[in-house]
């Protein structure tokens, strides 16, 4: 179960696994056993992490988690990569497709100058062990494909750009 968190302005990809002993948080190469219990009071919890018990207050919104502990409040952005990848095609504009998180290009089906129709498969990417096929958001001409198969890309990189559309009318 993967999530991309935004902690202190940085994207932090994590996943949570379940073992016989309980939950394990995977961050990079590290595996951190952890558990969370409800505690006294509205939104109060105790986090157990590496043998320490940390009391905290938590409130969860659609896309972020707000946590108050040790006298300070923090806001953690939360993205479900499965959903984020699906939305990759609906990036900043209908002209460019942005990477929702870091990953690797698996294959590229088009080259600059190609005419594509809405829904055509353009490229396949993998992020956090999930493959996603990016499809054309509209009819148009491919202007730029900055990455080749095997290339790594960062979060918010442009993965493909279409020629700007003529204003009709």
């Amino acid at each position: 179960m993967r999530r991309i968190l935004e902690v202190d302005g940085e994207d932090v990809p994590v996943w949570l696994a379940s073992t016989r002993e309980g939950h394990v948080l995977h961050m990079g190469e590290r595996e951190i056993p952890c558990s969370l219990e409800q505690a006294a009071g509205k939104g109060a919890y105790t986090l157990e992490l590496s043998e320490t018990r940390i009391p905290m207050r938590i409130a969860v919104s659609e896309s972020a988690t707000f946590i108050h502990f040790n006298g300070r409040a923090y806001e953690i952005g939360r993205t479900d990569p499965a959903e984020a990848l699906d939305k990759a095609g609906s990036g900043a504009s209908r002209d460019q497709m942005l990477a929702p998180m870091p990953g690797v290009v698996v294959s590229v089906s088009v080259a600059p100058g190609d005419a594509v129709k809405e829904g055509d498969a353009l490229l396949v990417i993998e992020s956090m062990k999930l493959e996603t096929t990016l499809k054309a958001p509209r009819d148009g001409l491919v202007a730029e494909v900055p990455f080749a198969a095997g290339d790594s890309f960062g979060g918010k990189d442009v993965l493909l750009r279409l020629e700007p559309q003529e204003e009709t009318e």
């Binding site: 902690v7 202190d8 073992t19 948080l25 951190i32 409040a73």
Partner: protein, 490 residues
């Protein structure tokens, strides 16, 4: 002329605060509300909540005709303006007077006089109170350079038409005065299309110290001691305290008596604040007088034990002051923190959001004057100040310790606030030693942003995923066989 029903022509924390005192005094209460406003504590306290219209919420609260009409319609015999909005609007006072409704505040003449900074300054200077040395070119252009020189160095040249620091030049030596005047004139013409200038004494590392005064309009004026308000961002105070750590006992009496003298000179009625700029050498100069209750009045209440709103209502009802100067103590130390919805790490950009969880600090010496409720919403319709946290301690160190504990215990989740920033200020060695000026926050900006503790990343990541109900639920549905594999990743 006792008050039987009071309309509070304001909102947020100050409306709630005024309403509470009116209720203690057994006065019926009403408060205003624009339809776009979310629920707030004032709505829970008032006997009556009256909806007002306006193209914007702020416009509604500035709509004199409408508010006077509300007061008459609901039978309010007095209106408390709070601070901001119409609290220093002479036309509002006149309109209420005409409608036969008591305005809880000074006369429109005094509001007019003090509202005009140039006239107020001249009035104060004429009566022998200290104002910063200055020279206004318009007074006599021919002698301007000469008069500027007489102000002394360092001095500050400002465009008459200016604002926001544009075209301002500090001059430290007589040799550069005339060329700097010419440069400032050209900049004034360029920025404001107006080359006229004025010059004033430049005070290095000034403090902002103000004095709470109260008059009965019958010639009796008392002061309620000073407040130090030097901790400012974007020219707005965010931490205030009393007593000021800068003043000796003699200076304290001197500045407080000066303020009371100025209020006496206008035969002041109601609550007012005389603001001074205070120089490192101990000299102080009149800046302006605010003819209303200030945001930071609670620190004064904490050390004097007086309810300033109760005093305002007494005076408005013609009952006069409840105490003589000798009866007004200054016990212990009080600090106020203004909790604002803003990002202190991003140039204090206002923040918005839903208040998903609210838990206010409490306990000995802690007072919270709040304008928000749990489940509420923070919008950009009004000022970003959500709440005020006021603490009292036997001495400054205890007040600081209590303020820090309370700031750390104040839980507001769902919207970014400046609580951690306020706590960092309280913990700054210069703040602790009282060595501050109005430039403090700018000078110490880098010291006030905390480094990220990498251990927090693990804690926050773990708490975020474990409190993600959808994720944990999905994990529970993973077949046992996979879970037994130990490190299940797919």
């Amino acid at each position: 002329m006792s008050i039987s029903k009071l309309l509070v022509a304001n909102r947020g924390e100050i409306a709630a605060r005024v309403l509470r005192t009116a209720r203690v005094k057994g006065i019926k209460t009403a408060v205003l509300r624009h339809p776009s406003e979310v629920d707030s504590p004032a709505h829970l306290i008032a006997d009556e909540v009256v909806t007002i219209d306006g193209p914007t919420p702020v416009a509604a609260y500035l709509d004199i005709a409408q508010i006077v009409d509300v007061a008459q319609r609901i039978g309010a015999d007095a209106v408390h303006p709070g601070y901001g909005f119409l609290s220093e609007n002479a036309a509002f006072v006149a309109a209420l007077e005409e409608a036969g409704v008591t305005f809880v505040g000074p006369t429109s003449e005094v509001i007019d006089l003090m509202g005009d900074k140039i006239r107020a300054r001249a009035f104060v200077e004429e009566r022998g109170f200290p104002v910063a040395p200055s020279a206004i070119e318009d007074d006599d252009p021919a002698t301007f350079v000469e008069r500027a020189r007489a102000v002394g160095y360092p001095l500050l040249i400002k465009p008459s038409a200016g604002g926001g620091g544009k075209g301002m030049r500090v001059v430290r030596e007589d040799s550069t005065l005339e060329t700097e005047i010419e440069t400032a004139r050209r900049e004034g013409e360029r920025y404001f299309g107006d080359g006229r200038l004025f010059v004033e004494c430049y005070i290095e590392r000034p403090r902002h110290i103000e004095v709470q005064v109260m008059g009965d309009g019958q010639g009796n004026v008392v002061h309620f001691w000073e407040r130090e308000c030097s901790i400012q961002r974007r020219f707005q105070k965010i931490i205030e305290e009393t007593p000021s750590p800068a003043l000796s006992e003699a200076q304290r009496l001197d500045i407080c008596e000066t303020a009371a003298g100025i209020a006496r000179a206008v035969n002041y009625r109601g609550a007012g604040t005389v603001e001074f700029i205070y120089a490192q050498d101990g000299s102080f100069y009149f800046l302006e007088m605010n003819t209303r209750l200030q945001v930071e009045h609670p620190v004064t209440e904490m050390v004097t034990g007086f309810d300033l709103v109760a005093e305002q209502l007494r005076i408005a009802a013609g009952e006069g002051l409840s105490a003589a100067q000798a009866d007004i103590p200054q016990n212990g130390h009080s600090i106020e923190l203004r909790i604002c919805a803003e990002d202190a790490t991003a140039d204090f950009r206002p923040a918005i959001g839903d208040i998903l969880l609210l838990d206010e600090p409490r306990g000995e010496g802690v007072r919270v004057d709040s304008g928000i409720l749990d489940g509420g919403k923070v919008t950009t319709d009004f000022d970003p100040m959500l709440s005020k946290l006021i603490v009292h301690g036997r001495d400054r160190a205890e007040a600081i310790a209590r303020a820090r504990r309370a700031a750390q215990d104040y839980v507001i989740l769902g919207v970014t606030t400046n609580l951690a920033y306020l706590d960092a200020i309280l913990d700054h060695p210069k703040f602790r030693s009282g060595d501050v000026s109005t430039g403090f926050l700018a000078e110490e900006a880098t010291d006030l942003t905390q480094d990220w503790d990498p251990a927090n990343t693990d804690i926050l990541a773990a708490a975020t995923v474990l409190s993600d109900a959808r994720l944990v639920k999905a994990l529970e549905n993973v077949p046992e066989i996979y879970r037994l594999m130990g490190s299940w990743r797919n």
